[in-house]
């Protein structure tokens, strides 16, 4: 058993002529909560897709449990994914299934468990996220925070080795944010999984992460423990952590001469 459950080695990725990642190196030790942070559009979610084998790198490799993801057959990738759970940004619950059926879905698909055992497991998972009482509701009847929690219960349904969280705090009220924050850490420690969080919410992420990677301009711009990064004087890290308007990440999108744009306008 390798010490790092996920290893990203010299990874490059791009599409439509746009380079998103260039020579990225990351390691994800077992049992830890690792965060990948960076501005919108820097390719954080794509890194999760690369780990899950949904897209292939143009250079380098991602290894999960010692296996190179993009070299696996379709069946091999599916075998690897059975070790993973993923929480999507908006939950991605199946809208035609109830909360109960959503959590039962992976169990029904991948196990031959009897209905009575599925029933108990689903209620245990829902209880872990505080939503046992909502098992009969449909996804349309849930708030954003509740949807995220049901999706979390579904992600851990088969006790995966890795749980990936794509922007778990985005669009949540402070109470829901605190609940999700607490659940990620608690479930990680209780289940002994490795958690990979992709987020740009500094406060919540720093609260629960053991180690943080900052991604910018396609590379790992900085890395370290939340304590180290909070004190960092690196311009990009400082701007990001303190939410500065301008800095290495410019306020203005690249544009031509302002005067020329205004005066040269032709209707």
């Amino acid at each position: 058993m390798t010490q790092n459950i996920v290893e990203i080695d010299n990874l490059s990725f791009g599409y439509n002529g746009r380079i998103l990642h260039q020579g990225i190196n990351m390691v994800f030790p077992r049992g830890r909560v690792i965060a990948i942070m960076g501005g919108s559009g820097c390719g954080k979610t794509t890194l999760l897709r690369l780990i899950g084998g949904q897209v292939k790198p143009s250079k380098g490799e991602v290894r999960v449990d010692g296996l190179v993801v993009h070299k696996q057959s379709r069946e091999g990738i599916y075998q690897l994914r059975r070790k993973m759970g993923m929480l999507f940004q908006h939950g991605a619950l199946f809208t035609d299934l109830s909360v109960y059926e959503n959590v039962a879905f992976p169990m029904r698909e991948h196990t031959q468990l009897p209905e009575s055992m599925i029933h108990d497991l689903v209620l245990m998972k829902l209880n872990a996220v505080g939503l046992r009482g909502a098992h009969q509701l449909m996804p349309t009847e849930l708030s954003g925070g509740m949807s995220r929690r049901v999706a979390l219960a579904r992600a851990i349904a088969l006790d995966p080795d890795i749980v990936m969280y794509d922007e778990p705090f985005a669009g949540l009220d402070p109470i829901s944010m605190g609940v999700i924050c607490d659940l990620i850490r608690t479930l990680n420690d209780a289940l002994g999984t490795t958690s990979i969080i992709v987020s740009h919410d500094v406060k919540e992420t720093f609260l629960i992460a053991d180690y943080v990677y900052f991604v910018a301009n396609g590379t790992v711009a900085a890395e370290g423990t939340p304590e180290d990064l909070s004190k960092s004087s690196m311009p990009f890290v400082y701007q990001f952590v303190h939410g500065e308007k301008d800095g290495p990440v410019p306020f203005h999108y690249a544009a031509g001469d302002y005067r020329q744009d205004l005066l040269g306008f032709e209707a």
Binding site: H90, A92, P106, E109, H110
Partner: protein, 268 residues
């Protein structure tokens, strides 16, 4: 300057035509690939047949009202028009045959397919498109569950099963509508209406060929609806355009296939 602008405009037009053409070819290939993947992933649809049955309900049972009402009116209009023309030649007793042959050979499969594309096809496209837009298909992929086996294939087989049944119902209800207009309303002899129909409708040439058509239309309409949804850009506009394309493409393909199939059936 003017010549240069003309040249630029010409190049742009040619580029657009080329892009449009290559895009169509690409989509045709992608559609064929999805069709193949659906066929080889169909085991799940039969092993867990309840998945397919559930979709038969959504595509077939929920389309019943529109099919029955349309069939009834089509049959009544056919009887009126048929009687009006046939009586000029003293063959008003053949009204039943005319209604039955028109429905079983052509209108049953074709109109059912057009209605199916409008009612069930659009629902399939919108559902799959929204599942894609809300990352439900990605979530399934990440759970090591193939969306093609779990979502696409059951809907495909449901469409293939539902279409011939709906087309048969359309023909039956249409004949009933034609009977109600021709016999009680106009006064065509009831015995002549049914016996002429019985004598002149051939099992193989009319009924079996009609069933073959409806199965082919079922495959085409369902596959188009599934492909458009699966290929839709994950935005509100993308899903809306895909839904429109489902109706337009299905209608044209059904009418085109009808001509091709009829040609073969008449020749053979």
């Amino acid at each position: 300057m003017i010549r240069s602008n003309l040249l630029v405009s010409l190049v742009r037009t040619l580029r657009n035509i080329g892009h449009h053409f290559s895009d169509r070819i690409w989509r045709l290939g992608a559609g064929a690939r999805l069709f193949w993947l659906t066929l080889i992933s169909s085991g799940e649809s039969f092993r867990r047949f309840h998945l397919t049955i559930r979709e038969v309900y959504f595509t077939g049972v929920l389309s019943l009202i529109i099919i029955i009402v349309s069939a009834f009116f089509v049959g009544m209009v056919l009887a009126l028009q048929g009687y009006n023309t046939l009586q000029k030649y003293g063959s008003s007793e053949a009204t039943g045959v005319l209604v039955a042959l028109s429905l079983v050979r052509e209108l049953g499969p074709v109109v059912t397919a057009l209605l199916f594309a409008g009612r069930a096809g659009t629902a399939i496209t919108a559902e799959i498109g929204l599942m894609k837009a809300t990352e439900q298909l990605s979530a399934m992929e990440m759970m090591a569950v193939s969306p093609i086996a779990r979502v696409i294939a059951p809907r495909f087989w449901a469409g293939v099963i539902a279409m011939p049944i709906l087309a048969a119902l359309f023909s039956m209800i249409g004949i009933l509508g034609g009977y109600l207009v021709a016999v009680p309303l106009i006064g065509v002899d009831s015995g002549a209406f049914w016996s002429q129909m019985q004598a002149n409708v051939d099992w193989h040439d009319d009924i079996v060929n009609g069933v073959i058509k409806s199965v082919v239309f079922g495959v085409a309409c369902t596959m188009i609806a599934l492909f458009e949804g699966y290929d839709a850009p994950p935005t509100a506009e993308g899903v809306s355009r895909a839904t429109t394309r489902t109706v337009v493409t299905s209608s044209l393909v059904v009418l085109g296939l009808d001509f091709v199939l009829t040609s073969f059936m008449i020749t053979l």
